[in-house]
């Protein structure tokens, strides 16, 4: 079992834990943190392939930098939306934001 497989397995474990958190948690802040965990797992894959892949190059580092930037933007907008929702509904539980379903 090479180091690449170990890193990919670790990233798969982290991704599945994050997915479980997104699917089961009701608190919107925990859901956002779980999404960050999933993005981190993907970044780990990119960096691992950048070192141990078929064609090692710096492109994996660049891609993961872009992913980190987009994740930061997503977290900022997510928290802003969450605060606006909290002001109007006085809750942060994601299963109570269901106006579009009713």
């Amino acid at each position: 079992m090479s180091m690449l497989s170990s890193y990919l397995t670790l990233a798969a474990v982290l991704f599945c834990i994050g997915l479980f958190g997104v699917l089961t948690k009701r608190n919107a802040i925990i859901v956002l943190l779980s999404i960050e965990l999933m993005l981190n797992a993907v970044n780990l894959n990119l960096i691992a392939f950048s070192k141990y892949g078929v064609n090692p190059s710096i492109a994996g580092h660049i891609f993961s930098l872009f992913t980190i930037t987009v994740a930061a933007a997503e977290a900022a907008v997510g928290i802003a939306v969450l605060i606006v929702l909290y002001r109007s509904r006085a809750t942060v539980n994601v299963d109570e934001f269901d106006e579009l379903r009713r």
Partner: protein
């Protein structure tokens, strides 16, 4: 199929310790009932992943990880926790069927991914990696990836202005 022929090297020991830290932090984050504990546990996972980046010779990404994830995103989440109320946490009725189905789905996904990783043919020895990777990242960002770099900075500015505008508007109308 499961022949774990692992030679015990220093790199593997470091990888093992850091990955155990990352997985323990993630599992604890899912299991804690208080939201602040979850945020701190996720921060521990992020620090462990930064250690893994150092192990993968990606020092620049490791420092960006510490600055952005541990320093910015976790603190942003803690501010979000401070500005919202979490009285009913841990007391809500569970959804056993929903949780079980989600757990089965996640385990199935992990099984598929693990099967794919075990069956893939990766090259055994890799070509030598670039030495001074921070300088190489700078060169690549300002030559080959100059346009995506500018676009992502525009995206970041727009997203932050949007976040400020979103969080501000309600306050003005309520005054």
């Amino acid at each position: 199929m499961l022949n774990f022929d692992i030679e015990i090297t220093g790199e593997f020991v470091a990888f093992f310790v850091l990955s155990v830290c990352a997985i323990v932090g993630a599992v604890l984050a899912i299991n804690f009932t208080k939201v602040v504990h979850t945020a701190l546990s996720i921060a521990f996972t992020f620090v462990s992943i930064a250690g893994l980046y150092v192990l993968l010779e990606a020092e620049f990404i490791a420092f960006v990880q510490v600055l952005l994830y541990v320093g910015a995103i976790t603190i942003l989440m803690i501010f979000g926790i401070m500005m919202t109320k979490h009285d009913g946490e841990g007391k809500e009725p569970g959804r056993p069927l929903h949780d079980t189905l989600a757990a089965i789905g996640c385990i199935c996904l992990f099984g598929i991914l693990f099967y794919g990783i075990r069956n893939a043919n990766f090259p055994t020895e890799s070509a030598p990696f670039v030495e001074d990777n921070t300088r190489e990242i700078g060169k690549a960002l300002f030559t080959q990836y100059a346009i995506p770099f500018e676009l992502v900075s525009v995206l970041l500015t727009v997203a932050f202005i949007g976040a400020i505008a979103l969080a501000k508007r309600e306050e003005e109308s309520s005054q």
